[in-house]
């Protein structure tokens, strides 16, 4: 199936009924295949890892879209394609109406200012040889926003303050700070160019429990203050529920369910979404005693050789014969609630 097929009118795209003026980011039939090569001198491609295999969704202005799924489902690759850190194999990414893949370097660079990222690991995403002030100020210098050094410094101090760090931290090195403080530096750096859209790639996962809530609240405050749009990539389903307006669930390179947050958690339809939600333990022994603990059997198949038909069918309790033959398209079950399953 090509991107053009995905966009034929009889296969509606999830979220296409959103007025185009409200859409900030639009992902259309995105595919990213990584070649698997053999041979040291003359490498030849022997297989393809289908990391992302036909993903489409829209992100509205001011919205936080959650992208959840387990390792290897393609959620991070999707984020990296939007950031133009990976070149998509197929499909299109529109930012504010501009197709990112067709732009020349100069126009891409100016769009890039509006798109930023916060990474998972605040230990490896900050240069250990740079002071915090230099880390936060670097994007401002690269894009030549504040030519005056004094103004640059003022901006760095402002950003530290916005992210809840004292001014004196500008002179420190990353290793002198705790994980939570480093993540605040990562956030300050992302904000330094006054972006509209931020990809948060597991931005909370590496932090301690008592620090997670601090950073979640910070991300929420910043969203309100600067009218930010987030793509929130995460595997922690309770944090996604707290922070996101809409959620897309991915499995093996495909979006299997997409819906408003409360609808998805209150009324999950796809068997995989249900299994994911059942697997999340709740911090209350009385609740846990009452809950049924059915576990999903088996493991995620290799994305090099995904199952035919519905990629989830080998582990699915609802699977019927047809599931191994035809790939289910996303269907709108209720307004705004899309599911890629024929049996619900």
């Amino acid at each position: 199936m090509t991107a053009a097929d995905t966009m034929t009118p009889d296969i509606p795209l999830a979220g296409t009924r959103i007025p185009q003026s409200d859409v900030l980011v639009s992902v259309r039939g995105l595919k990213k295949y990584f070649p698997v090569t053999e041979g040291a001198l003359i490498p030849r491609t022997v297989a393809q890892v289908k990391a992302v295999d036909g993903v489409s969704f829209d992100i509205r202005r001011g919205e936080t879209l959650g992208l959840v799924g387990e390792s290897g489902c393609g959620k991070t690759t999707t984020g990296r394609c939007i950031l133009q850190l990976e070149r998509p194999t197929e499909g299109e990414i529109l930012f504010d109406g501009f197709s990112l893949s067709n732009l020349d370097r100069k126009s891409l660079s100016s769009l890039r200012r509006r798109i930023q990222v916060i990474f998972q690991d605040p230990y490896s995403s900050l240069n250990p040889r740079m002071r915090v002030g230099e880390i936060i100020g670097e994007p401002i210098r690269v894009h030549n926003i504040e030519p005056d050094r004094r103004a640059q410094e003022r901006r760095v101090h402002e950003l530290l303050d916005v992210c809840g760090l004292p001014k004196k931290f500008a002179g420190r090195y990353p290793h002198e700070m705790s994980g939570g403080q480093r993540q605040r530096v990562g956030i300050a750096r992302a904000l330094s160019l006054r972006p509209e859209f931020i990809v948060c790639d597991e931005a909370i996962s590496a932090l301690d429990v008592s620090i997670q809530a601090q950073i979640i609240n910070l991300l929420e405050d910043l969203r309100d203050e600067f009218k930010l749009t987030y793509l929130f990539i995460a595997h922690d389903l309770s944090i996604v529920r707290h922070l996101c307006h809409r959620v897309a669930v991915m499995y093996l390179g495909k979006v299997v369910e997409l819906s408003d947050c409360d609808e998805l958690y209150g009324n999950p339809l796809h068997p995989y979404t249900r299994a994911l939600l059942e697997a999340v333990p709740v911090a209350d022994p009385a609740v846990e005693e009452r809950r049924q603990h059915r576990t999903l059997k088996g493991e995620v198949p290799s994305p090099m050789n995904p199952p035919a038909g519905c990629v989830f069918h080998p582990r699915c309790t609802l699977a019927v014969e047809g599931c191994s033959k035809a790939l289910p398209n996303l269907r709108e079950m209720k307004p705004g609630h899309w599911v890629a399953c024929t049996e619900v």
Binding site: V209, S210, A213, N217, S238, L276, P281, P285
Partner: protein, 351 residues
Amino acid sequence: MSRQWPSGIAGREDHKGRNVAKLLEVENLQTHFVTPAGLVKAVDGISYEVGEGETVAVVGESGCGKSVGALSILRLIPSPPGRIVGGSVRFAGRDLLTLGEEEIRRVRGREIGMIFQEPMTSLNPVLTIGLQLTETLRQHLPVSQEAAEQRAVELLGMVGISDPRRRLRQYPHHLSGGMRQRVMIALALSCHPKLIIADEPTTALDVTIQAQILELMKDLTRRLGVALILITHNLGVVARYADRVNVMYAGRIVESGTARHIYHNPSHPYTLALLRSIPRIDQPRKTKLNPIEGQPPDLMQLGVGCAFCPRCGFAATRCREAAPILEPVAGGHLSACWEKVRLAEIRRGAS
């Protein structure tokens, strides 16, 4: 500083009020690390018990001493820089801290099994799964090579690995993270231990695989009557699987009790704040989370008072002057907080 074992806990009952025999008694355990920057009291006088067949969780954040405390039981602390400087660990009638090297080696893997967070680093990458299993079996038990192989096949089947005979010839890198953790469980169970120490066994795994592994561990430990010390930072995992819970902060146990005590009557401000800071999937969405402000303490710069005091909403003058001791709040429920009575009153008023 020495701390007394709290009275009133000597007659042991499990979380359902049944009498259980004591299997492990950790008393006033202290493990310190000497670093160029100074002395770190990673574990500073912890005491707890594990009954036979019981699952005891140790929860806390990174650096609170939960892993060091558990590794100290088997004396697996690299020395230098680490050193167990005091306390005792009574297991099956003897103090593990006074055993000779040869004797403690016979306890490790035989009487007490271990499961670590990242199975790729605890399995030998250049040896087959089969060799690692049979080696452990033959090291500890008087069995022939054939019998050891037979047992290895049984063990892999027991932990839910399909086609065990073929798997025995495979190397760790052939297996997925979940499968490797199953092999670790098979290894830990191989010599019929009475106790398994699991240090963040599912932290590196995806949520559906985590559920599989934890269900497997619960099922096997219950069926085989093996006690489990489960070290984790995940409060949901603790609620689902633990009978009793020890909450650690800055090298000490700050609260201890049954899972229901800890979750329904938290009696230490840290436990209360932790439970209030996490979003819960079964409750209506809140507008804002209630984080614990500030940072976890630097263990090299602890004052004389309570280590949680700078982040605590209940702190009083006394909290800055002396460290509170772990004392009973109710039967078998202990808290190390000077203000625990006031905390209980406020909590009762709120609910």
